[in-house]
Symmetry: none
C-alpha cells in the first residue's frame, strides 16, 4: 500500500463519512487526497470499490474492538463493556464508525454482519446471568448502543459521564 493509496482512503473516508457516499464525487476525493483522479480507478477499479476497501478497514477495526470486550469471562463485564464501547470511540476511529452508521441509511438493505458477534455475546451473557428472555435483553442493549452511537457520532452531548452512569445503573452494572 503506497502513500498515495493511503491518502485516497483517508480522503474518501473523511468525505464519505462527513458528506455521504452519493454526495461525494471521485474528483473531490482526488483533490482532497492530492492525487490525480485516474489513480483512484487504477487502485480501486471504481467508486464502489473504493467504498468497499474502506468498509473492509472499518469492519476489521470494529472486530478488533469487539474482540477485546467479548473474550471477557465475566458476563457483567461483557455487557458493561459493550454499553461503554461507543462512549470510548477513539479519535482515529471516529470517522470509520460514522461511515458505518451513515451507510445504514443509504443502502437498500441493512447490513447486520458487523453487530452479529456482539449480539451473540450479549445473548450468552444474559443467559449466564439467568435472565428469562436473553434474546430480547440482547436486542435491547443493541438498541441502546445504537442510540448511544448516534449521540456520540452526531450530537456530541456535554454530560456524557452522567449519561453513562444513568445507563449502567439501569442494568445494575
Amino acid at each position: 500500500m503506497t502513500d498515495k493509496q493511503k491518502n485516497i482512503l483517508k480522503a474518501a473516508l473523511i468525505l464519505f463519512a462527513e458528506k455521504g457516499y452519493a454526495a461525494t464525487s471521485t474528483s473531490k476525493v482526488a483533490k482532497e487526497a492530492g492525487v490525480s483522479e485516474g489513480l483512484i480507478f487504477r487502485h480501486f477499479q471504481n467508486k464502489e470499490g473504493l467504498l468497499n476497501a474502506i468498509m473492509q478497514l472499518a469492519k476489521a477495526a470494529a472486530n478488533r474492538e469487539f474482540a477485546g470486550i467479548i473474550e471477557n469471562e465475566n458476563p457483567k463485564a461483557i455487557i458493561r463493556g459493550i454499553i461503554e464501547m461507543p462512549f470510548k470511540i477513539k479519535q482515529d476511529q471516529f470517522l470509520l464508525w460514522k461511515l458505518i452508521y451513515a451507510l445504514k441509511w443509504q443502502t437498500e438493505t441493512y447490513d447486520s454482519s458487523i453487530s452479529e458477534p456482539v449480539k451473540q455475546a450479549l445473548i450468552k451473557a444474559f443467559s449466564k446471568l439467568g435472565y428469562s428472555n436473553p434474546n430480547a435483553e440482547a436486542e435491547t442493549v443493541l438498541i441502546l448502543i445504537d442510540g448511544i452511537a448516534m449521540a456520540v457520532l452526531l450530537r456530541k452531548p456535554a454530560n456524557m459521564d452522567e449519561i453513562v452512569s444513568s445507563m449502567l445503573a439501569k442494568y445494575k452494572l
Copy 2:
C-alpha cells in the same frame, strides 16, 4: 396545492427516504410522480427546495405527534409515551421519520429543533418525579428513543413487544 404538487412531494418522500437525497435524481422523482421534470422546479425552485418542503411537512407531523403525548399531566405517562412513540409510528408516517433520521447523517450540522420540545418535557417529568439529575435522565431517554427509532425504521425486529416491556421495566413504568 394542486394534485401534481402533492404527487411530487409524495414521490420525492418515497425516493429520498428509501434511496437517499443525493442518490435520487429529480428526473426519477418526476417519473415516479407522473409529472414533467420542469414542474418540480416551477413549484419548489430547486432540488433543495423540494427537500425543504418535505421537511416542513415532516416537522409539522412530528410536532402533532409530540403534542398528544407531552400535554399529559402525569409525568410517568409522558415518559412512557415518549419511549413508546417510535414503536407506534403509523404506516403513513414511516417514511417521514425515515427521512428525518437519514438526513441527520447527511447534513453538515445536526438539527435538534425537532426533538427540543420532547427534551424539555422529559426534563420537567423527571424533575416532578424527584430524579436527582433530570437533565442526564432526559438525555438518556432521548438516546434510547433514537436507538429504538433506528431499530424500527431500519431493522424491523420481530420481537418488539418483549423489547418494549424490557425498556419500560428499566424505568419502572
Copy 3:
C-alpha cells in the same frame, strides 16, 4: 392598449436594453411587469413579437426626432442638429436608443433602415454646401454620431459640453 400591455412593453424595454434580448427571459419580463407570463404571449404571440413591438415604438420615436431636424432649410443647421442629437436624448427615450444600438451587435444582419433618412439629409446638406465628396462626408458624420451615441448611452462622460464644442468646431458650425 391596456395598462398591462404597457407594463409589459416597459418592462421588456428595460430588460432588453439593460441585459440584452437573449439574456432576458419572458418570465423575468412578466415578473418585472407584474403580470402573468401567459399574458405576454396572448398580446405579442411570442418573444420575438414582443421585441418587434418595442422596435416599432423605437423606430417611430427615432423618426419623430429626425423629422424635426431634417425638415430644416439651412444645411448647416441640419448637420449641427444631427451631431447634437445624441447629446440631447431625453430620459424617456434613453432606453429605446440603448436598445436600438445594442441590437446592432446581437442580430445577424445590420439594420440600417433607421439611419437611412438621416444619411440622405446629410448628403443633401453637404452637397448644398459645395463639399466635393458629400457621400463620404455624410458617412463621416454618421460614424461620428455612432461614436457619440456610444459615449452617451454607455460611458456617460462628464465634460459633454466641451466635447460637443470641439466636434462642432471641426465642422465650423
Copy 4:
C-alpha cells in the same frame, strides 16, 4: 494549452462575436470545436470562465496593438495612428474586436480598462501640441474611434479611404 483547448477558444470566439454571448449555447461551441461538451467545463469551469479566457486574450492583443502606436515620439503620429487603428484591424483580430465591442452593450458596467492607456496617450499628445483642452480633445478622438470601430466591425462601408481622409483632414494630420 492543448489543441482541443485552442479549438474551444476559437469556436467560442467566433460564436460569441457573431451571435452574441447569451445566444450561444455551450453545446454549439462544443460542436463547432469538435469536442465533447464536458471538456469546456473541465478547462474553463463554466460558460463565463470561457468568456473570461477569451477576453484575456482579446485584451492582450489590444494592448500589443496599442503599444506599437503609443510608443511613438511624434504627437501627431500618435493621434493619426490611433484614428487609423480601427481601419487597420487585421482579419485574425476582427472577431476579438467585435466581441470586445459587443460585450460593452451586454454587461452591467462599462469596462474602460482597455482604452485607458490610449486615452492617456492622447491627452499627452494634445498637450504637447498646445491644445487648450487636451482632455476634451482626447475624449473626442475616443468617441471618433468608437464610431469608426462600429462602422468597420458592423457596417463595413465601401468608401473607407475617403472617410479616413476626411477624418484626418479635420485634425490636420
